[in-house]
């Protein structure tokens, strides 16, 4: 048996004749993050990469490729997005081939660039043992992989892709990581309401309204028909004001309530680095407490906001 990467390439090569496209990762421009690769011919397979730099969740491409026979390489958390898309009937199981992997954590390129103080202009970077060795204009340095992981890896609940048609490598438990970084939600909770409001005003003041958060979200399937751009009703106006940007974030959070798997793509994609997954995490926590439900785990379940109980066990209504 070869390495996980070789096994993955072999599996893709074998399946390719029956598929229109296979989505995987290839080396990115700067060595800190791999980039999506759309494989349509056998020669593309040589470009495939698999290591902790495969941070991007590729599931977001699936709804746009509906109708084609698609193969996709998925980490544990990516597969949760796939489950959610299947559950909402936004993609078809029979058209899909999932190459599942066991993941030991994915790197956060922004965090690494900050730790290595090298910007995103590295000359070369390679993974060796538990370290990422970086050569940039500022010299060479090594960052321990564990320190450079995405925040979500510290909360990983399943590192093996499920659903999966072909599992590559050995099944295993999520990485065991110490010292989970404090989340923005934790930090907000220590603030007064007024401070929280000011926090968002300041954060949203930096938003450039590129909507990368929306484009990156695997569940934002409306894309060009987004309610944020409708004139009638005019949910969000064109003014360059934090109020409107905050409104958009509330919209993203509420439109993904009960659906968001905390894949972190919105934050990963944000060019300004805004902590926009925070609101979604708060909603997820509430949904877990009220309905004992987590998105992306079971494609047969009815999502919590698509159903109700006459007597809600965990809802206490106010008596006036």
């Amino acid at each position: 048996m070869g390495s996980q990467l070789e096994d993955l390439k072999t599996a893709i090569r074998q399946a390719l004749p029956d598929l229109d496209v296979v989505i995987a990762w290839a080396a990115g421009p700067d060595g800190l993050a791999h980039t999506p690769l759309f494989i349509t011919s056998e020669s593309d397979v040589d470009l495939v990469q698999w290591d902790p730099r495969c941070s991007q969740n590729l599931a977001g491409y699936l709804p746009g490729l509906r109708g084609k026979k698609v193969g996709i390489v998925a980490k544990g958390c990516d597969a949760r997005s796939i489950t959610e898309l299947l559950q909402e009937k936004l993609i078809d199981r029979e058209q899909l081939t999932v190459f599942g992997l066991h993941c030991q954590g994915a790197l956060d390129p922004e965090k690494i660039a900050a730790m290595a103080d090298c910007g995103r202009y590295v000359r070369s970077a390679e993974i060796n043992g538990g370290e990422l060795k970086i050569v940039s204009s500022k010299g060479a340095c090594a960052i321990s992989l564990e320190n450079g992981l995405l925040a979500k890896c510290f909360r990983c609940t399943g590192a093996d892709a499920q659903p999966c048609d072909q599992f590559i490598g050995e099944h295993g438990a999520p990485p065991v990581l110490k010292d989970a970084p404090a989340t923005t939600l934790d930090r907000l909770e220590a603030m007064s309401m007024e401070e929280r409001f000011q926090f968002w005003e300041e954060q949203m003041g930096q938003c450039i309204r590129c909507y990368a958060c929306r484009s990156a979200c695997p569940l934002c399937v409306c894309q060009d028909h987004c309610a944020a751009q409708s004139r009638e009703p005019h949910w969000v106006d064109q003014t360059d004001h934090p109020r409107e940007k905050l409104m958009f974030q509330a919209m993203h959070a509420l439109h993904t309530a009960g659906r968001c798997t905390e894949c972190g793509e919105c934050e990963r994609a944000c060019p300004v680095g805004l902590p926009i997954m925070t609101m979604k995490q708060a909603l997820n926590r509430q949904i877990k407490a009220l309905f004992d439900y987590e998105a992306g785990l079971d494609s047969e379940k009815t999502p919590p906001l698509f159903q109700f109980r006459e007597n809600e066990e965990h809802i206490k209504e106010r008596k006036w």
Binding site: Q198, P242, A250, L283, L305, F308, R309
Partner: protein, 152 residues
Amino acid sequence: MSVLEGKELRIIGFLCNWCSYGGADTAGVGRFTQPTDLRIIKLPCTGRINPLFVVRAFLNGADGVLVSGCHPRDCHYTAGNFYARRRLEVLRSLLPVMGIEPARFEYTWVSASEGQRWRTVVQKFTEQIHGLGPIPAFKSGTCLEACLGTAI
């Protein structure tokens, strides 16, 4: 400018057509005195309420938002209020994360015959909002000021 300027706060009420709007009407017909801070928006059913209505109201400067519909099992469309209850409970967790005091928002059920109950709800909720005072404003001012700033 209203004589009540400074004394009144802005409270928005989203009421379903079949029960709570009728309940508010009953309170009016019964000539019950009530605080006048509440502005009512009539909707067909609480099931029509998108939680974003509430967020939009707050971001546009409402100091409080009240949602009221038919009692559970009495919804004119059978289940609108059951779905609404779930959505509004989820919304409740978003507001404090945004920095909006959760007590600025409430939902309840008032039937068309419950004029008295309607008055109690309006009174208590209005008091609650007055206890909290006006909603915090953006430091950068209003959208209009931002627009004028760019224009000049």
